[in-house]
Symmetry: C2
Subunit: 565 residues, 2 copies
């Protein structure tokens, strides 16, 4: 079996900082470094405290993509970062920055390397602590908030260390694949620090002895195993290790399951792909296959409640090799100082050989049954019919709720072709994320799966999508309310109901796009087909669902969660 070709889906490669820097402004250096690291587009909204930096951006090769709202810019930058390897968002002070908190928190929780850039009042304006507009408690309020939400942060108050501070934040963003915060007081943007700056790049390295010992133990366990399996998580993609993962799996013939958050980290049509593992919540065959393994390689996997099927996972730690960027644990002991990437590379180099195994047959591999034209459309059938259309150049972006849960049954064809907030679970992620995805990978076709409640939060970001000539297919799963909550807490509560929108009429407001309104299988299949063939315009398909319809995965999840709510 040959190693799969990894092509345009690779994350951006990084250029090291120059050997020495002089004569560059603080804003200019930041722009240069962002480009070195692979940023080509920056999302955001200008405001007076950041206008001077926006003016610098406009003169640079970076493209600024103005969004309708800052939180949408945050989601877009997050999706862009997931696909491109790094993303950036640029906003004004407080009214802009504090509108980003939720989307940046989501990027932190799900490990997405987003650089947050915010303007702020100039240092020379702050004299005597006056009440400048946009201020909350004091001039540090915003940076104090972002310290809670980012892996690293800096306020560029001192030209003598500004470049070093920029590099420190960017290094941390890439090392941990989590957001970093850089605040630019507006009178610092054009300042050119005196003297020459010599960047120091410290590349973290593994503890050689720990790495060797861990590797030997892992190799011994895998080699002795009769039924090894890989449970691949999202970090494999974040750290650009898909190639190693496939080399390891293919050479040793080890089957691969993924977690929900790691869905699509390898192509789901790959012969070694078993399915998405979710404990008791998932498909029985997949659960059984993983849990019966005598050696589970958990690679880049977060042990979150949703990934673990709300703690129904039944994985014996004595049989697990658990490697992430944060931790390397084999059975009941931990190794410190071993980098995830080094461990993966060494595993590949060990040229393991595994036994032949019979993979479970997968529900989603069955052909789509004939369309029952007049049958009311259901979420499960939306997924089945959509699954039939997916090809190698589609990316599916699912919003929180049943859009996400149901799409576990989609069969994703390439790496990184599924995006969803599978841990942080913020509603409103999908439409702005589609903007970010299309900016990062304009050759891919985006399909958005979004509930009516989630769409009402951020769906108007379609405005920016049509402005830039993108043509996603947006499928609005319209069950007239918060469907997941109806299942979690039974009772006829009015707070789960929302106002109905004629989503299909939105093109009239936006001056662009085609709307479809469907209620039967036949109508949905026809609309999807027409939309698929239309490569010129944005398509929005409003799918009228029964209020009590839900996918099988959501029904199983609700069953588990209900006793906690």
């Amino acid at each position: 079996m040959s190693v799969s070709k990894i092509t345009a889906r690779d994350i951006a490669s990084h250029k090291s900082p120059p050997a020495a820097v002089s004569g560059v402004s603080i804003g200019g250096y930041l722009i240069e470094r962002l480009q070195d690291l692979g940023v080509r587009d920056i999302f955001g909204i200008p405001g007076d405290y950041v206008l001077a930096f926006y003016a610098q951006l406009e003169k640079s090769p970076l493209r600024t993509i103005g969004c309708t709202r800052e939180d949408c810019a945050g989601f877009a930058a997050d999706a862009y970062a997931r696909l491109n390897g790094i993303g950036a968002v640029c906003v004004t002070y407080c009214v802009g920055g504090l509108s980003l908190c939720n989307s940046i928190a989501g990027a932190y929780a799900e490990k997405s390397p987003v650089v947050v850039i915010s303007g702020s009042p100039g240092l020379n304006e702050r004299f005597n602590n006056p009440l400048l507009h946009h201020r909350v408690k004091n001039f540090q309020t915003q940076s104090n908030v972002f310290r809670r939400l980012c892996v690293s942060s800096a306020v560029l108050e001192d030209p003598y260390i500004a470049f070093r501070e920029i590099d420190r934040v960017l290094d941390a963003v890439l090392r941990y694949r989590r957001p970093g915060y850089i605040e630019l007081p507006r009178d610092m943007i054009d300042v050119i620090p005196e003297g020459e700056y010599i960047p120091k790049t410290v590349k973290p390295t593994s503890d050689k002895n720990a790495l060797r010992e861990a590797l030997n133990e892992a190799v011994r366990l895998i080699s002795a195993s009769q039924r090894p399996v890989i449970l691949a998580g999202v970090e494999v993609h974040r750290f650009g290790l898909q190639k190693q993962l496939l080399e390891l799996a293919e050479a040793a013939n080890i089957p691969i399951a993924t977690t929900m958050l790691g869905k699509s980290v390898i192509s789901e049509t790959h012969p070694l792909f078993v399915g998405v593992y979710e404990g008791a919540m998932g498909q029985e065959e997949v659960t059984e296959f993983v849990e019966k393994s005598d050696c589970i390689l958990m690679l880049g996997t977060f042990l979150t409640d949703i990934n673990l099927g709300i703690y129904t996972a039944n994985l014996d730690p004595s049989k697990c090799i658990y490697a992430t960027s944060e931790k390397l644990r084999i059975s009941h002991h931990e190794y410190h100082g071993v980098l995830f990437g080094d461990f993966m590379s060494e595993l590949v180099a060990a040229k393991l050989k595994g036994p032949e195994q019979t993979l479970p047959s997968r529900e989603t591999e069955t052909a789509v049954p004939a369309i029952e034209s007049d049958a009311p459309i259901t979420i499960s059938r939306v997924i089945a019919i959509l699954n039939n259309e997916l090809d190698d150049s589609t990316i599916v972006i699912a919003d929180a709720g049943d859009a996400l849960f149901s799409s576990v049954e989609l069969s994703i064809h390439q790496q990184a072709e599924f995006l969803g907030p599978a841990y942080y679970a913020s509603m409103g992620f999908s439409v702005p994320a589609a903007l970010g995805a299309m900016a990062a990978k304009p050759d891919l076709r985006s399909v958005v799966l979004v509930g009516d409640g989630a769409f009402q939060m951020t769906g108007m970001e379609l405005s920016t999508i049509v402005r830039h000539g993108y043509h996603p297919i947006v499928i609005v799963l319209d069950n007239e309310g918060y469907g997941t909550e109806r299942l979690l807490h039974r009772g006829n509560y009015t707070f789960n109901e929302i106002h109905s929108w004629n989503f299909a009429k939105l093109p009239t407001v936006l001056g662009h796009g085609t709307g479809y309104e469907v209620a039967t299988e036949g109508q949905f299949a026809d609309a999807l087909r027409t939309a698929w063939e239309d490569r010129e315009t944005m398509s929005i398909i409003q799918v009228h669902l029964d209020r009590n319809d839900s996918s099988k995965p959501l029904a199983r999840l609700a069953e588990r969660l209900r006793n906690k709510v």
Copy 2:
């Protein structure tokens, strides 16, 4: 001159907590106390960590108003609090709470008493620190963020002190008229604390000697003055002191100017009303009148950059008596321990008499010139024509940008009939604020003034507005971009441009309302008239403006700000 009648516009009166409490759940006590303090409606969005509390709310007399997004719920609660004396918003953990940061920061900055209630994971779920969905860094991330944005906060983790903690936060919210944060782990909501809780209400009192000395000095200065003037700020309304302000001014015949943030703190048709003072940015006659005064009573006024005309105010501190809830300063010295309300009451009781003064004539008092039917409509003419329609039961809500700056020239007829983010200046305030205003004061007619950029941020909250049968008039000032920024930083920057929406078509999407599209004075006047007479439906008037049009106040502000950007 008789004291103006203060009627339904009064802020809610507060009931003290009961003498002793037992047998009540933690969630139940919070709901009771909110009602005691005058909350009748609570804005928000449910989510699994707060569903049990929502179920309690649904059984209580409180009405829950579900919004499309959490930040909109925050703005609605803020506006509700400004008009009602207290407001509340209820959301789920992190994905909900962190979406509130910007609107709650605005409430802090502009002193609006909003109670933030958030659900969170149950304490018994947190064992071993698992990765529960919605979590960011640790279980304290959200409460740590809100500590930066609120005047007081509590996480109700311990039933023995939960009631006391609730009262502590609510007391601080009312005392400082700023937001407070209460987090309810979901397994605490139904817990009934053992034993009996005896609330202790500590009423803050003034230092008697300091109060007497300050009052004597103030009375001496005012009595000796030839041209005393009051510069009234927003705290007069927040602390319910309009009645005292009017008694003081009318008895002593002292003219009143307000700041921008304090606009409408008294009726702008009052004979003693001089105008809105904004330093060099404001109308020359008003500026001159205030700055030539030999005794300026600054009552409840924030010294913000916008209030002070971007620091063009020319007020001699030796001639100022500056009293707010935070500070009492006369000339160059400060008095500590004097409550703002006590100082105001004592000033009234002193029965001051002032000299007769000639007030400046006010630009906005001139009758509206005849409509030039075919003339292109401008912002100034929108304001002039709207001004002509305002009556005693109108409330105007202006968004950040020229909607706010231009409306300085509106003549507001009653107390508290103008709302705008005149210090924090967050775009997107107005439409959700209108929802809150209409819930708080359903007898008033709401008119929203909003730019196209601000509308694109939160305008879809019209969804909730039409769902509840409210019928505001929403005037969208459409100049195809961020007009204020175009003025602040000259140059043909693409980042100030936004995608055009057919705002007038939104009723098609929402299934309700009437849209108008106007470009001339005649069309605007006709649309406004028709909308004004329509008391059944929401009206949205899309006003096509020239891209470079701006009000005179904005032009003056831009002139001042430009050299700082």
